[in-house]
Symmetry: none
Subunit: 245 residues, 2 copies
């Protein structure tokens, strides 16, 4: 049974990878971003490869489950959407997607997706690319293209993971700003102290100065706890003055 | 003159990196995505480091231009926006951004941005994080967090590079946050006053209290003008105390 769940995690296919170490690194990159299904097409040094494990830094489950194939066509036989990664577009006549756009397609597409990567040095052959429906290219600095296999896998896996909500969305740990009256209480305390210190001179500038202060002090959106800390600061400064006064 | 160009490329700051090889790999990751400015804070094995070059795979220009600092505060002194990368959020009370959101901020923000990375194993110390206005966390598989330093740098650089084709938003109406050293000047003034007022008691709580204060005061991202106003406030409060004292 083919998995027709929309947005099923994509399969990562490495075609004729050369070094076991790079297979391990690719597995690590995958698992960091929640991908687990690796398929290997005719790895140069056979499979399993003893140098893959150490490079995987613990992503053993990906290596253990890796499936071996002789031909790319077999490796992607159950995949509805095959994307071929290339660094340079050599006269291709297929749609070229960024990793971000490819991730969107994968999340929205029913059926399995595969992302295919070529050998370390040479990249995918034209015949391999021909199997794919789209090309995925990581846009890199045209004056310094030095993205290795595991890095390319990582960018793809990372983009895919962004649609998955792996971790809690950012900012949820933050406390909300305090209610306005707590801010006003702090501001009134500061205002009284500043008035006593002769800060609001000359009188015709008082309201503008107060506005400036209010603008900068409302900017942070301090929490109740932070406002309590700030009032502690003000009381300390005021208390010392009074004790000395 | 501060660089007020919206979306200036961010500075990558590596704090106490351990292996020269990882510095080289970080440089390679940077240059792949068009970043060139690297700053090193107290690298464990000194600088230059002979193992960095081979690992950079040709990104020598980044290593040659890398600047060396003893302290993080100095390394980010000219940066208006300091983002600290952490893997785990340990009770932080700063905004937490994804790499994508951080990239958007950097593209939209006037003034220099810095992205700060900690040592390979331990990550940034709490005091390092305290210098930053936001936290940037790469959301990874919670059951397999194994993103190395160069990979983390790569994700950040990659996200930044994606925004380079976009027209930079105007962002000129708002003044940028002041450079970090202006903030530090204000903070030192307040610290001295609070110390004199006996605020930092008991002594064993002093550094935690200072961190709390620093966190809440870095939150607004005050402009140079606002920091001047705040220093005026502090001087007024201090001056009155002295006049009366």
């Amino acid at each position: 049974m083919t998995d027709h769940t929309p947005g099923a995690p994509p399969v990562i296919v490495l075609v004729r990878p050369q070094l076991g170490e790079n297979i391990g690194k690719a597995a690590r990159a995958m698992l960091n971003f929640g991908l687990t299904e690796l398929r290997l097409v005719a790895p140069r040094d056979g499979w399993p490869n003893p140098t893959a494990g150490p490079a995987a830094s613990g992503a053993d489950i990906v290596l253990e489950r890796a499936a071996l194939f002789d031909h790319l066509a077999d490796a992607v036989a159950d995949c509805a959407h095959v994307h071929a990664t290339t660094v340079r577009k050599r006269g291709v006549t297929k749609p070229v997607l960024t990793p971000e756009a490819a991730a969107h397609e994968i999340h929205g597409a029913p059926g399995r997706s595969a992302i295919v990567f070529g050998p370390e040095r040479s990249g995918l052959e034209t015949d391999d690319v021909a199997l794919a429906r789209t090309i995925v290219t990581v846009p890199i600095n045209p004056e310094f293209g030095s993205l290795n296999l595991a890095q390319a896998v990582m960018v793809i896996a990372y983009e895919w993971s962004k649609g998955m909500d792996l971790a809690s969305p950012p900012g949820t740990l933050l406390d909300p700003p305090a209610p306005q009256d707590e801010f006003e209480g702090m501001f009134a305390q500061l205002d009284t102290m500043l008035d006593g210190a002769g800060f609001f001179h000359p009188p015709e500038r008082t309201s503008a100065t107060r506005r400036t202060l209010r603008t900068m002090l409302t900017k942070p959106g301090w929490t109740s706890q932070e406002l309590r800390t700030l009032r502690g600061v003000l009381s300390a400064l005021d208390g010392k003055k009074r004790r000395r006064g």
